[in-house]
Amino acid sequence: MSHKILLVEDDEDNRDLVSFVLQRSQLDVELLIAENGEEAVQMATANLPHLILMDMQMPVMDGWHAVPIIKADERTKNIPIIAFTAQAKPEDKIKTKQLGCVEHYSKPMDPEELLNLIQKYLNSQGS
């Protein structure tokens, strides 16, 4: 059974790049895509993904609002969320941890590094 990963990202190029990298990984994953926090909340509840990659700056609803909603829902609270953001200040890292994100991954990305991180959280929960 493949793992489901929910990518929440408003930038099309970034979505394409994550998709490109995941397709070329050895991981057996299904990639779900949400373009903003609101869609992410709905898709997380409906699909119960194994992992969420969450951009923090987005239109409609940003990650800072979407993560607490996901963490507050009994069904989705245990899904690991990786903050996937261009904000790399130490205080941002602390804030994302406080929200309940397991990691803070700063863009621009390194494919191998990102895949290792994804694999770490997928392995930790099985399929």
Binding site: L17, F20, R24, D110
Partner: protein, 428 residues
């Protein structure tokens, strides 16, 4: 189209519409039909020797249905006709004993006996065409199976020999044609099979090295298509490198989103299982792919002024040129032939004793037919400008004053490059 011969329960004459390729099943069927046609012709040969031309004709017709392209069908039919005519002219005596050797019938004129007739699946005779020069002497010494009467005039014998010579020449030509046709068929079939394999491999390698079941499926496809192992290996390697190259282009178009292009390329190299050797062998292709949208050409810059040289190099590189440096015109001459640049930029004056001046360097380039069309721009002091411009310049040459105005330089380079590319295109 597939026709079915019910008597032999074998499919005959497998052909496909243009553009379609034979499947492995079709190829097996063609082979089977060719073999069956060969057997029919062997039977026909025996029947001809026994004098049963009617049955022999039926066998040849069967062979024709099975393998219409067989080059000896018409030869066999001619042979039967010839013997039938001979039989009508000279009916054998009723009690004539059956002789075994030589043949009871006259030597066959249009076609050889089966032993000599190369059928499509017996490659040896086709590979070694009949040497008429070797056969003819034998024919001259060995009497035909129905020798002419002793009283027959010599002219008649000569005429018959001449006729046989012609027939042998005809046979040799047919053998060569058969060989050529067979090679063409083989090449065509192999090309079709390779295309099929390439398509399957591209699908399997689109996202990097395929998983084991996919890799096995591709290998089995190659086996079923009778693709030789070395061809399979070569196609496999080509596809792998092509797919890696495509992935590199794709990822580089998004390089602003990547932390490091080099580590990403290194990751891709692992994903596509590109060995270091393979990478190095194809490096220029990959690099050209990477910079294809920015690369404008290679420039040789000849200057001994380090600061001016570095400034200009940086600006040229930023504008998409690859820059090769030379400190003197002498060193530049060595590099020009090796690098084959798109533009040569050179200072007019050099301080070292005995060094060529820019203009002399330009004159040397003019004398070399391989180099005298490359755009060449000299940089000179304002005081020298008029005198240098007064000397006759060729279409590919230009002189600009120092300090070099980069906009002026790029305008001149672009103009000369356009001329240069037009000239090169006219040569292709």
């Amino acid at each position: 189209m597939v026709e079915v011969s019910t008597k032999h329960n074998k499919k005959a004459a497998v052909s496909l519409p243009p553009g379609k390729e034979h499947t492995a099943q079709d190829l097996a069927l063609i082979k089977q039909n060719k073999e069956a046609a060969k057997q029919c012709l062997l039977v026909a040969d025996r029947l001809i020797k026994e004098g049963d031309f009617e049955k022999a004709r039926i066998e040849v017709e069967k062979a024709q249905k099975l393998d219409p392209a067989h080059p000896y069908i018409s030869a066999f039919l001619d042979r039967i006709n010839y013997f039938e005519e001979q039989k009508k002219k000279n009916p054998p005596p009723l009690a004539a004993p059956k002789t075994v050797s030589p043949s009871p019938v006259p030597a066959p004129p249009p076609a050889p006996t089966v032993g000599a007739a190369p059928l499509p699946v017996t490659p040896a005779p086709a590979k070694k065409p009949v040497d008429t020069a070797k056969i003819l002497p034998n024919l001259k010494t060995a009497p035909p199976s129905t020798p002419p009467p002793a009283s027959a005039p010599k002219a008649e014998v000569d005429s018959k020999l001449e006729e046989m010579r012609n027939q042998i020449q005809e046979l040799t030509r047919a053998l060569l044609e058969e060989k050529k046709a067979r090679e063409e068929i083989h090449e065509h079939q192999l090309q079709g099979a390779v295309n099929q394999l390439r398509h399957a491999l591209e699908k399997a390698w689109v996202n990097g090295a395929p998983k084991e079941p996919e890799a096995i499926a591709c290998h089995q496809l190659a086996l079923s298509l009778n693709i030789p192992p070395e061809v399979e290996k070569s196609v496999h390697r080509e596809v792998k490198i092509e797919m890696y190259s495509r992935a590199v282009k794709e990822v580089i178009s998004k390089r602003k989103l990547l932390r490091s292009s080099s580590s990403t390329l290194e990751w891709l190299r692992k994903v596509y299982q590109i060995t270091v050797t393979e990478y190095l062998e194809n490096e220029s292709k990959f690099l050209l792919d990477l910079v294809a949208d920015q690369y404008k050409g290679t420039v040789i810059l000849v200057s001994e002024d380090t600061k001016a040289r570095n400034d200009l190099t940086n600006r040229l590189k930023a504008s998409g040129y690859a820059v090769v440096l030379a400190q003197t015109p002498e060193l530049a001459l060595e590099k020009v032939e090796k690098i084959n640049p798109n533009v040569i930029l050179c200072e007019q004056k050099f301080s070292s004793d005995g060094a060529l001046s820019g203009i002399k360097f330009m004159h040397i380039l003019r004398t070399n037919s391989k180099l005298n069309f490359i755009p060449c721009v000299l940089f000179c002091e304002k005081s020298d400008l008029e005198s240098l411009r007064a000397s006759e310049l060729r279409a590919n040459e230009a002189i600009i004053k120092k300090p070099v105005d980069f906009d002026e330089l790029t305008a001149v380079m672009n103009e000369k490059l356009i001329q240069f590319r037009e000239y090169v295109s006219s040569l292709v």
